[in-house]
Symmetry: C2
DNA sequence: CTGTTAGCGCGTTCAG
DNA sequence: CTGAACGCGCTAACAG
């Protein structure tokens, strides 16, 4: 393995000079910079990220904390896109990523979790799927032990950023489109889990719409569960003109229930997952670019780890219609 | 951060002694072993895996190489289970895992790929979704630069193991069950991709069945594509009694095509993915435990990295029937 | 602007 | 059976 020492010798400079060039430090003359870069090229040198992490304690290693639910396939899809989006962006930025699942921290105290991550030289984390009652993680964020980015939860402090789309507006938009397309007067809204952050925001979006358009609104808690959405639909769909669901999975559950009830109601979802194509009918939904959101989270963490301050990032979304033939290949 | 040095001081022994105890070296007296372990407990010491990796070059860091296709959702499901299965098992064994996608190596020569992985102190790899024409990876395996485990491809040498279910038998079993349940005389077999390893094995399974039961067999290449299976079904399903597909995704494509054609034929799939529940009808399929397979792959790599020799591992599978209500939650 | 030096935390000879 | 000493590859003060 060719190391920084070889490069230094080859370029006729000191080891530390090579390090400075590699890490874009300011005080290096153009000339030596060129010499070093040439040596790097010629020797095909690639810095060892493990050694760098051990030495610097700063840059480099970050963890993805994923709230994985391996029982539901739609969740798989979303998490897979989160993970691949993050890994690809991290590779681009030359960062080391380790993936963890919430289940691996079950029963750990905040202290233990910190030790565990620190023992892997991790100094930055990205959290996916945080809910209000994940106390250990909230403690972690509050303590600011790590630079952190939280996806889909509005938590911000000096060392924590938040990344997501505008949930309120997206829910408003997709529901409005569905209502307008179908001239509805009343809505059954199947909301997410009570302890989820996006749940509230989406709820206020639908509330705003109902108010603005003077629509009757019935809100039921679907808990992001396909089965629960199905049950709610059996119970409450007859009396309403349109079903607005806070996730695609629930929209699919609702749609299938409607088919079994043999009645028609427009349904719209939220997320834009491929699974929607299998639902049997077309539906409006919000397409979130999960990979892009995750890539943005990595960039944001990179920014934080280089001294940036925590802040809130908003990303774009689309309102789309998915159908079976679009998604198969 | 509490380091091995602190433990040594606390236990009143030398640093190296602590290291030996931690790594289960033979020549340490029970007494000092106990002293050290007590100190570890009291200080809540967790060894730093990054430092260990840098120092030892042997154990520890491994890479998951995943052939991810982010366009198809069923693939997401499978890969997600592979990845989570591996990560969980690795955490259990105290190994460091990094995940990579084939796309990250596009355009890299074998040499470059080696450098890239080595620069991350990676000494073991697990490959998912290898096909016959991935030349760079085949070179890598042949060179034995890394300890390797290949999932679903029969590649074995001193430092390479292979892990999978018995594809031939599984295809035989699921098809036989389907044929028997429906008293069929002819089969349309929609095979996988020509360059995939499992394709051949599954094919010989169906061939054996056709021969044994004296069934007419038409084989078409579905390339593991849902769309292609759909087209093949439109073309060739009428003339056959049953459709046997080499993947669930193709089975879903076939089933939907049959529904559009408004004819009934029994269909069976292969994999046991949740998406099957959305197919509209029940089907027989082979349930592979992807997470378990992946966990076994990690264990196998651990074995190799500790001096074991490459070998072939076979895992179990089930023949099941999935339906919508089973998979939602 | 460049080079020297001292670690980061751990594994591993090699004396004793 | 134990411990001192060196090195893994790199970063970061600190001199010069």
């Amino acid at each position: 393995m060719v190391s920084i020492k070889d490069v230094a010798r080859h370029a006729g400079v000191a080891i530390s000079t090579v390090s400075k060039v590699l890490n874009h430090y300011p005080n290096v003359s153009e000339e030596t910079k060129k010499k070093v870069n040439e040596a790097v090229e010629e020797l095909n040198f690639l810095p060892n990220s493990v050694a760098a992490a051990l030495s610097s304690k700063q840059a480099g290693r970050m963890a993805l904390l994923v709230n994985l639910n391996t029982r539901t396939q739609a969740i798989d899809e979303i998490d897979m896109r989160y993970i691949s989006g993050a890994i690809n962006k991290a590779a681009e930025l030359g960062l080391d990523v380790n993936t963890f699942f919430f289940s691996m921290f079950e029963g750990m105290s905040e202290e233990e979790a910190v030790r565990y991550l620190r023992s892997q030289s991790i100094y930055g984390i990205i959290i996916y799927g945080l809910s209000k009652n994940d106390e250990m993680l909230h403690g972690l964020l509050r303590s600011q032990t790590f630079k952190a980015v939280v996806v889909d939860a509005p938590i911000v402090n000096e060392s924590t950023s938040s990344v997501s789309i505008d949930q309120e507006k997206a829910q408003y938009d997709v529901a409005k489109k569905t209502v307008m397309d179908n001239k509805c007067k009343s809505i059954l809204y199947i909301a997410g889990k009570g302890n989820g952050y996006v749940t509230e925001e989406r709820l206020s979006g639908i509330r705003r719409l109902a108010e603005e358009m003077d629509l009757e609104l019935l809100v039921r808690e679907g808990d992001f569960s396909e089965r629960k959405a199905r049950e709610i639909t059996f119970q409450d769909a007859r009396g309403k003109d349109v079903l607005v669901c806070a996730s695609d999975l629930m929209a699919i559950g609702a749609m299938r229930a409607l088919m079994e009830m043999d009645i028609f109601r427009p349904v719209c979802g939220f997320d834009g997952i491929t699974l929607m194509g299998y639902a049997g009918k077309q539906m409006n939904t919000v397409r979130q670019g999960f990979a892009e959101i995750s890539a943005a989270a990595v960039e944001e963490l990179y920014y934080l780890m280089n001294g940036g301050e925590g802040r809130k990032k908003r990303l774009d979304y689309d309102i789309i219609r998915l159908q079976y033939l679009d998604i198969i290949c």
